[in-house]
Symmetry: C2
Subunit: 334 residues, 2 copies
DNA sequence: CTGAAAGCGCTTACAG
DNA sequence: CTGAAAGCGCTTACAG
């Protein structure tokens, strides 16, 4: 690999001139600049990242802390990872994936060794131990999700409370009075993920406000049991006119179950859920849904951490994204 | 952050002694070693990764080149990424995710700047342009998948040809003579992914050998059309006694369609497919299937690139993993 | 507008 | 068993 010294020699200038030509941090005569350009092309020069990081204390790398949460629905995760990576690239960063079983250890490792300029925490829980590690590292960090004690770090998330309310109101406005709420498996509540609770509570709360009778059913954690749980819920509440579904597993099974029972949507039953367009397309889900908009949430998070790397003193922000509802005609007036 | 100099001062030794104590590359007296250990703990010392990389020309980082292939079924991808990351960690490497739209540019970027010691190529195609980039970079690289011209790089993959043959034989042995082969969308064939062709061709080939009449149906690329394609295939070949399914989308839709038509498996129809245990569990797929074993394939790939980083002169290997079939009782004798 | 030199934090011959 | 010094490839005051 050619070094900056090789380029300097080839162009007949000093290394500092090459460096400045590259960074644009001081004026370089046109002629010199051209000679340097030629040298760079001729020698195929690319700056050594390690040397640059050593000299500047900047790595141009973001650590993506992916927690180990087997119970969660894995497929959706890839989308988040891809968006982080793509946004990071647009902002000039590379992404180091940190999937350590112990997220705290992972954060400590990549920050202590100065491998990253900042970290992005995926799947934040309400009492997320990783927040302390980010604070201890004294590096910029952003939470994708809301923690109870997140005053110290920037965070972004979908406004799941608003999402829950809008789903309930959507049904209430159409005259539904008895609704089955298929919420997430209890295992996921135990994982303390903020959005799980926020959506759950807002649905229950808004149902009360709207005078809507809610039958709450936790989806099964084990896919084998899912269908039975779902069927049981329908059996137990025959007078329900609508389903409000948060569980992704239930959403996938629903078409099968409804077809088995010859239940037509929305004629016999209205359905509203929470899932992304891309996900819905993949499984051909024909249901009206609140859109979690990962591209917006995640891209915003990456921008926030990049901004904070630029300016560590910027006030902490907490952003909640207003959810959009996509009407696919799976709900009707009753 | 404490530096090696701080540790040396604290322990009352030279920096080189600390460095050697850390690497174990020369004998250090017990007493000195202890003082150094204490200093490291007291100062919370962790070596600066950039400085280390600069001094040793080793980054302890692997580049994971994730291609941009929207047509492919995304959820499965995350599993591969996670296994790469976990295996890399076990071997002492971090993972840099490279998701550039142009994989070649991504490889050039991370290798030219010496950000990685080697690269792992996901979703290799038969004529993969990225191979040239790895060769040009003169860094170790491993292919997950088989390319036509892969004599120069290590590669690992499931033996998809064997997988195809074993599925056909499984049905042939049970007396099936007319089978519908639901293969991948034509879009995926155009993407030139090696495994797509290898499986396809081996199924057709083995069917001929086994005297099995095959109706080949390409699954729809658009999920909206999937169900119709699948239904059309059943209608067009009413005398088929079995389904051989490669398309993941078709696998997901199959339970719905069969339940709609009151077709019972394996009583009315035998089904064999190609999908992983984890994936099958997530969608509660009750079908006998060849197991793609991503954990084995991917972990092997990471080991191979790590070995080659250690010893660049090792002969190139190409490993094909024999597929396992998991019998879930979805096929019967006819 | 340009260059010589110090420094970032490591490792590793070299010398003892 | 240990240390002083050079070097990895950059950037950036400092000086002109």
């Amino acid at each position: 690999m050619a070094t900056i010294g090789d380029v300097a020699k080839y162009a007949g200038v000093s290394r500092s001139t090459v460096s400045h030509a590259l960074s644009g941090k001081r004026p370089i005569s046109l002629e010199t600049r051209q000679r340097i350009s030629e040298a760079i092309v001729a020698l195929q020069y690319t700056a050594n990242a390690g040397a640059k990081a050593l000299a500047t204390s900047k790595t141009s790398t973001l650590g993506l802390i992916v927690p180990y949460t087997p119970a969660e629905f894995a497929p959706a995760r890839m989308q988040y990872v891809m968006i982080v990576s793509e946004t990071a690239r647009e902002l000039g960063f590379d992404v180091l994936m940190v999937t350590d079983f112990d997220g705290r250890a992972g954060i400590k490792r990549v920050t202590d060794s100065s491998r990253v300029d900042g970290v992005i925490l995926l799947n934040v829980t309400r009492h997320d131990e990783r927040i302390g590690s980010v604070l201890a590292a004294a590096k910029p960090g952003v939470l994708i999700g809301l923690a109870d004690d997140n005053a110290a770090l920037d965070s972004v998330d979908l406004d799941f409370a608003a999402a829950g309310r809008s789903m309930v109101r959507h049904l209430a406005e159409r005259g539904h009075r008895r609704v089955i709420f298929v919420t997430l498996p209890t295992e996921m509540f135990l994982q303390d993920l903020g959005y799980v609770w926020r959506l759950h509570e807002s649905v229950i709360d808004e149902a009360q406000t709207a005078g809507l009778a809610l039958t709450v059913v936790h989806d099964a954690a084990d896919p084998k049991d899912r269908m039975r749980v779902l069927a049981g819920a329908l059996d137990a509440t025959p007078d329900a006119t609508a389903l409000l579904v948060h569980s992704v597993g239930a959403l996938i099974d629903l078409p099968v179950l409804l077809s088995q029972r010859r239940i037509s949507v929305p004629r016999d039953l209205s359905v509203v859920g929470l899932f992304g367009d891309e996900f819905g397309a993949m499984f051909a889900l024909p249901y009206t849904a609140v859109e979690p908009s990962p591209e917006v949430v995640v891209s915003r998070a990456v921008h926030l951490v990049a901004e904070r790397i630029e300016d560590p003193s910027r006030p902490v922000v907490q952003e909640l994204l207003a959810p959009l509802m996509v009407d696919r005609g799976s709900t009707r007036e009753v």
